[in-house]
């Protein structure tokens, strides 16, 4: 018998998000003449409420009616909370970004809330179809957000590139998944894992082991390519710089954080449930693919970032390199690695959001539109606190001690060395050193160069709040990481290592 209360308990946060999204849209009809600030208030409120529900009802009493494709565990909870908090920050940014106002900020906030809903489902998804649908849904939201600034032709171009690239790779991933389904006759990750574990006998096509390789390996490569595109991992990252540059700064922040989060969640579940290196026959191959992905991503991202003059393009390429570090966490396939990945992702998202908030403040009112690094020149004199917050974010991305970035990288290195990947850490270290050289361009502009313009810098309240929270959290995570570390370790316990 379906008890409505228990259904609500399981899906409380999702329902809250859905209703908040509708409420924001409805509110647009009523509140529009009075301004747009209520959207952010509603969205943030809804996300906080959803997070509270997620925490309070974290253990469902009755999971009998939970659809087969969903696994409600600690990892899903952590993924949810991460997604909700990032998107709440983005809602703060959306309020101040002029590019997000047409047609309406309400629609933008509704999209953000839907994206949070998708992340929430993706966190629990353990079915190939559900993962694919959720990832693509997230992709569609990102395409819309990219083209949100309709008067800007670059935004349309960026969105088209993103759309074409994204849908092609999604199709490829679907094709790969269909092959996996073809040999295993299941889309459930656990079932797929059991099949790949046992290998040959239960195959619907009654293939022999050697023949099975010809199906599984290409399928894995195709699936990996699709996931890599979501992460903007090299060599499937080419869409990123153009899309970041053309998109409104707030949407660029979204693209820099949320699809990466979604892709990593999917990658973690897929890797650890369906094809773990320890037990699965093809686990070693998949791990090797991930190692190659991490190495190529770190190298390509770092080197390409060195050449950039535009701050958004620079962040796009540096985001590529950053994702390389996070993939290391997946490669290790250990509880340490998974927790480190989540921690690093958190710091990356905070630092990146903070920097994009500064981009909104610095370049938002510029005519003609420019996001060159030179627009940050002398920011130290125009807005010392904002410059300091950006500095903290950049140092966090470099991974300097006293920022959460250090703890995250440290932990990732620990995980990699523990599982015997010393060369992966050496590549990561070299890439971190190179990262100083490109982040330095921004620091140099802010602190050492003469001011770009004497015009006063207008900092809207919500934006200041977002920048402040990001910078303070990046430092706090570096000083007192204990609580968060323990929490992320919980997320890892449900996986068998």
């Amino acid at each position: 018998m379906l008890d409505p209360i228990s259904v609500f308990r399981v899906f409380a946060s999702e329902l809250v998000l859905l209703f908040t999204a509708l409420l924001v849209l409805l509110g647009d009809l009523i509140f529009r003449p009075r301004g747009r600030h209520y959207c952010t208030g509603f969205a943030v409120g809804g996300l906080i409420l959803a997070s509270l529900f997620a925490i309070v009802f974290r253990v469902p009493d009755d999971t009998s009616f939970v659809p087969a494709g969903l696994t409600i565990d600690a990892f899903a909870l952590v993924a949810k909370l991460l997604g909700f908090s990032f998107i709440a920050m983005l809602a703060l940014l959306a309020d101040s970004d002029d590019c997000c106002r047409s047609p309406s900020t309400a629609l933008y906030c509704a999209l953000l809330l839907i994206a949070a809903l998708v992340i929430s489902i993706l966190g629990a998804a353990s079915d190939l179809i559900l993962i694919l649908l959720a990832l693509d849904f997230l992709g569609v939201i990102a395409y819309i957000m990219t083209s949100y600034d309709r008067v800007n032709p670059r935004a349309s171009e960026a969105a088209l590139k993103y759309l074409l690239y994204g849908s092609t790779l999604s199709a490829l991933m679907l094709f790969g998944f269909s092959w996996l389904y073809g040999v295993s006759t299941t889309t459930d990750l656990v079932g797929l894992g059991a099949f790949l574990d046992r290998g040959t006998t239960s195959s619907a096509l009654s293939l022999r082991a050697a023949e099975l390789d010809y199906v599984v390996l290409p399928a894995l490569i195709m699936a990996g390519a699709g996931l890599a595109m979501k992460l903007a991992a090299a060599p499937f990252h080419q869409w990123a710089p153009d899309t970041y540059q053309g998109a409104p700064a707030c949407s660029a922040a979204f693209i820099a954080v949320v699809p990466k989060l979604g892709g990593l969640i999917a990658l973690v579940r897929f890797t650890l449930v369906a094809i773990p290196a320890a037990s699965s026959e093809h686990g070693g191959d998949w791990q090797a693919l991930l190692v190659a992905l991490a190495v190529v991503t770190m190298i390509v991202g770092s080197l390409a970032a060195l050449l950039q003059q535009d701050i958004k393009r620079l962040l796009a390429y540096s985001g590529v390199a950053q994702v390389g570090y996070m993939v290391i966490g997946v490669v290790t396939q250990s509880s340490t690695g998974l927790a480190a990945l989540l921690f690093y992702l958190l710091v990356y998202a905070l630092a990146t959001t903070g920097i994009f908030a500064a981009i909104i403040a610095v370049t938002g009112k510029l005519t003609p539109v420019s996001t060159e690094i030179s627009t940050f020149s002398g920011l130290h004199k125009r807005a010392p606190w904002l410059a300091f917050a950006v500095l903290v974010g950049l140092l966090g991305l470099i991974g300097l001690p006293l920022t959460g970035g250090f703890i995250g990288k440290f932990w990732l290195f620990v995980a990699a060395l523990e599982k015997g990947f010393p060369w992966l850490t050496v590549v990561a270290v070299l890439s971190s050193i190179v990262s100083i050289a490109y982040y330095w361009k921004i620091i140099r502009a802010m602190y050492f160069l003469p001011v770009y313009t004497d015009a006063a810098l207008h900092m809207p309240t919500w934006l200041s709040v977002a920048v402040g929270i990001c910078a303070i959290l990046v430092i706090l995570l570096g000083l007192f990481p204990n609580g968060v570390l323990a929490f992320f370790r919980l997320a890892a316990i449900d996986f068998r290592f």
Binding site: P401, F410, L485
Partner: protein, 504 residues
């Protein structure tokens, strides 16, 4: 429970920095006063600390405080001091007080940030000398990096941004490899505790990993010391930094690397160290290169500040040489090893005060002349007699004149090295000859003697009272330590003896 004096020393500059943050930017007067006041409080605490340590005995780690910091990684807030670290902590607080006192009269631009960054730097520097947990050590090591980077980049000379990023890149490039080594050591031994690790000897049975870990750490330390050929960041950073920044760079930052060698490199990897001194003598060769090459570059250098910067390369070479000599000692040569290590440790302290003084003086001259070209100077002895007198003392101390502080380090280092590594000692003495040559010829002759260009330099004024106050304590210390080295040497010696006991 006793008063946690180490934490107090550590936190005092940080509190000062935070206090400065809340003072309005316009009130530069208060900012200066608060900055100097907190530096003085640190110095007072450091002096009290030194007295305490002398009472307790500087032969082993004292005043230990140990609390869990990041429990999930087994990282501790673990601090303590012995005969090596106490004088260095005091030196840091001492030089910082003088540097900020001097800066209070000189710096007009962005005073708030300036004092904030310097106090933050002090916390980082002192933390390195106190830390007894490898990760804590690393964290403090890097804390000092950003303030110094910004100090060079904002208040530096013409090529400041180049010098700043070079400094940053070099330091970080070295230290991240040290971080990997630290993690590897942890996996081998299961602890980050520096004291425990010196006993455990990580990778005692795995030569390859012992090598990797050793060189990872060595890279970080050697860049900071600096050892030839990793020294190229130093001339740029020292030359472009503002005067107080140069003083702290030469006086304390270089000692971080040296202290790391003393505290971590040598005790944890004595066999590896010994191997690369005796079997493949790469370490002493690099030390000799630093000494001789550094001195030769000074001879060819016409930029006054750059000359002093390169002289640091040469002087820190004596430290490395002394350390190499100590690493090869056995039970029969304990005396020589103790002498070499004492000389090396003495060099850290004496170089801090002598070169700190030299950088002050160079900076004061530059403030007046706006050039550092030695060829433009000449005959200043009549125009600036006080300046001449002060510079003469520091210059002579720098070349190791008996009766001044610099003499004892050279005496002891060569006393030990001559017995343990005779060939290296003979070559190293060459450096002393070159040092005498460039000090007398370049510094004394070109600046103070020769013809005086009255048209160009007729308006030069001698040192103001506050400039004299900034340098005078260093001068007093140089002379006192030169004439009466006993107490400081006894402090070092007890720590040296303890260190030699744990070496094989």
């Amino acid at each position: 429970m006793q008063f946690p004096i180490l934490s107090a020393i550590l936190i005092t500059p940080l509190l000062g920095a935070l206090l400065i943050l809340v003072i309005p930017r316009e009130d530069a007067r208060t900012i200066r006063r608060v900055g100097v006041a907190f530096a003085v409080i640190s110095l007072v605490l450091a002096t009290v600390l030194w007295v305490c340590v002398e009472q307790l005995g500087p032969d082993t780690l004292r005043l230990i405080e140990r609390y869990p910091w990041i429990a999930s990684f087994d990282i501790w807030y673990h601090v303590g001091v012995d005969g090596f670290s106490t004088p260095l902590v005091w030196l840091t607080a001492f030089l910082m007080t003088l540097a900020l006192f001097y800066s209070a009269y000189v710096i007009e631009d962005r005073v708030k940030e300036y004092f904030f960054l310097f106090l933050l730097l002090e916390t980082g520097l002192i933390g390195v000398f106190l830390a007894l947990d490898l990760v804590l050590f690393y964290v403090f090591w890097e804390i000092g990096l950003v303030p110094m980077f910004l100090i060079i980049g904002i208040w530096g000379g013409k090529r400041r941004d180049y010098a700043a990023i070079k400094f940053f890149l070099y330091t970080l490039a070295g230290s991240v490899f040290a971080l990997l080594a630290i993690i590897a050591i942890y996996f081998n031994t299961g602890t980050f505790d520096i004291v425990e690790l010196a006993r455990l000897r990580p990778f005692a049975d795995n030569w390859l990993w012992a090598n990797l870990a050793f060189w990872g750490l060595w890279l970080a330390f050697a860049i900071k010391i600096p050892v030839f050929p990793l020294h190229t960041w130093l001339p740029d950073a020292h030359t472009e930094a503002p005067t107080a920044g140069s003083v702290m760079l030469a006086g304390v930052l270089l000692k971080l690397g040296a202290y790391g060698m003393l505290r971590i490199g040598l005790p944890m990897f004595p066999q590896v160290f010994r191997y690369y001194v005796l079997d493949i003598p790469i370490l002493p060769i690099l030390a000799l290169f630093s000494i001789v090459y550094g001195a030769l570059v000074c001879l060819a250098q016409w930029d006054f500040k750059r000359l002093i910067a390169y002289s640091s390369v040469a002087h820190m070479g004596y430290f490395t040489l002394g350390l190499c000599a100590a690493a090869v000692s056995d039970s029969g040569t304990q005396m020589a090893a103790a002498a070499a290590l004492n000389g090396a440790a003495w060099q850290l302290f004496s170089h801090g005060i002598i070169t700190g003084g030299m950088f002050f003086l160079v900076g004061m001259l530059y403030e007046r002349t706006h050039t550092r070209d030695l060829r433009a100077f000449g005959g200043f002895s009549g125009q600036m007699p006080v300046y001449y007198g002060l510079t003469l003392v520091f210059a002579l101390a720098s070349l190791g004149l008996p009766g001044l502080a610099g003499f004892w380090s050279e005496l002891f280092v060569f006393r030990g090295t001559a017995q343990l590594l005779p060939l290296a000692a003979y070559i190293g003495v060459l450096g002393m000859v070159f040092t005498a040559a460039y000090i007398l010829w370049k510094v004394i002759q070109h600046v103070f003697l020769g013809t005086f260009d009255a048209i160009r330099w007729g308006t030069l004024t001698d040192l103001k009272w506050w400039e004299q106050v900034a340098v005078a304590p260093l001068l007093v210390l140089t002379v006192v330590l030169g004439l009466y080295p006993g107490p400081l040497l006894a402090t070092f010696d007890s720590a040296v003896t303890a260190l030699l006991h744990v070496l094989p």
